[in-house]
Symmetry: C2
Subunit: 325 residues, 2 copies
């Protein structure tokens, strides 16, 4: 834990009682002047910290910023989030994680950006990522999976994202195959999975996650308003992004562990329960091909099984799914 993390943890533990500078100084083994300097830095980041001769330091409010140390100090996970880095702005968090992956960084690192200049959606599309309005982050994983089983991780990440959003905001989300989160049919979050692999061995996987948290309806371009929404719009309240981020990482860590220990089936069961795609008529574009039929179920590796109009079963591992009425 860094000094900032320790100070924030002590302030949180003290609550409204506050904690004396001398006490912090002894606990952390650094001078009172050094404590004061760190407090000043935290204030610059937006942490409202009162200093009184009587109570000492008291944490009044936490800003709506993402602070790596602060996220780390709230997180209890095995793999995902054991290393967290926050950028004020970057091209795309997937790009940053890709560089880390090639440098041999261990799995579990998570990179957040307050804004992305080139946020990417699936199939080369742009993902709008305005500053401090959402959660834009990417996770590096190095699972012992074959490239064809990577859909399992996407399914697991979507299930975790679903749970975190539902429990943290009270809205009623649904999952669209394989990994979009919708509310009332409008997209509120998505996952971009990128992999580097040999023919039969994954080298690394990057899960890029985008959640539209506190955007207003007016923040969306007119052409997107019918198909995209935010948690704030749907829940009618601003959502604390840091708390939501912590919750998402915890749920994802849990489901990653389930997939890695061979429990994908139980994840898939939970996924199917909340998935609005199963049982629906769908039109799927895979490259130039168009497939129409009824989405019957998930295959053991996470592929979507679609019964076409001609009666045979198609395995879909990716593509653009449109839900028909």
């Amino acid at each position: 834990m860094t000094i900032d993390t320790q100070i924030l943890a002590a302030l949180r533990a003290a609550g409204t009682n506050g904690v004396a500078g001398t006490e912090l100084s002894q606990k952390l083994g650094i001078s009172r002047a050094a404590i004061w300097a760190r407090i000043e830095e935290l204030r610059k980041l937006g942490y409202e910290i009162e200093a009184s001769p009587h109570l000492g330091y008291c944490l009044l409010s936490v800003p709506d910023v993402l602070h790596a140390d602060d996220l780390l100090s709230s997180l209890k996970t095995e793999v995902i989030g054991r290393d967290i880095r926050v950028f004020e702005e970057t091209t795309s968090t997937n790009d940053v994680v890709e560089r880390l992956a090639r440098d041999g960084v261990k799995e579990g690192v998570v990179v957040f950006a307050e804004s992305q200049t080139k946020g990417r959606g699936r199939l080369g599309r742009i993902w709008m990522s305005p500053a401090r309005q959402g959660l834009w982050f990417s996770i590096l994983l190095r699972p012992q999976l074959r490239p064809t089983s990577v859909t399992q991780l996407t399914i697991a990440a979507a299930t975790a994202l679903f749970r975190a959003i539902r429990s943290q905001t009270g809205v009623r989300p649904e999952i669209k195959w394989p990994n979009d989160i919708l509310i009332d049919g409008k997209k509120v979050a998505g996952i971009l999975t990128e992999l580097s692999a040999e023919l039969d061995k994954v080298k690394y996987i990057i899960l890029g996650v985008g959640v539209d948290v506190n955007l207003s309806a007016a923040d969306f371009p007119p052409e997107l308003r019918k198909i995209a929404t935010s948690l704030k719009v749907e829940s009618g309240q601003r959502i604390n992004r840091a708390e939501l981020a912590v919750r998402i990482l915890q749920e994802m860590d849990r489901d990653y562990e389930r997939v890695c220990s061979g429990q994908f089936e139980s994840v898939a069961g939970e996924w199917a329960e909340h998935c609005s795609t199963i049982g629906r008529n769908v039109t799927i574009h895979v490259g130039d091909r168009k497939i129409q039929g009824c989405a019957e179920s998930l295959d053991t590796d996470g592929a979507l099984l679609v019964r076409t109009q001609h009666g045979h079963l198609e395995r879909i591992i990716g593509g653009d799914v449109k839900l028909e009425k």
Copy 2:
């Protein structure tokens, strides 16, 4: 074409007649002194070029080195090899091509290295790459394929490699699924396929090719002598590496075009004809799993279909295949 390529092409066309410096100078639009300077450079690379007042310049012999311009001037391909780069030494040609891929270089670039310090085989193994004894190169491709169809390219590359080796050396090679070339049961060439992809879209593929050309039996470590060999050992003669390289690239370009235009089935038919794996009992290790059975055929996407002892059909897309007696 660079000046070197044009000079070499002119010398080759002239054959033993030679070509006058004045003629070269006029043809290429540069001074006779400049021609002479380039000839000197080519000599340094090992090209034996005679200069006589009578005949002019005459190409007596070509060194056993790989020269990008020289390879380019001999090559007639659509995609593969339209950009060729030769390194004296590198870590692994796949690493070099990966950097080019990320920089957005067009498909078809081929990187050769005279030697590799960290040549890679499949599944993280080392590929021995002694200087000037073999062909170690990597090709960048950006096909419109789904990640699960990448085996098609590996099958096509193996088929092309098989044809080039057979026609250029007179040996009788066989193909081992998916992409090793054997002679008399010993490995003489292999392909390492690496891919970068989204869930449903390939970003790029790197085909790394290693061919043991002129190694002597003594060049192989004792533990490899029973399972590895070279074209020189098997054919009893030194092979011209540049000519073999050109032939391989031409065959690969042809088969790449076949796969991209939807003719994988005809490639697969040719592959199966020369594949020693089909019809054999095999033991396959895929990660921790061991699969035993009879290799019956290829699936439409290049996967190997193995009838297990329990009677059901397993689809194998990668792994370590051992041929049983």
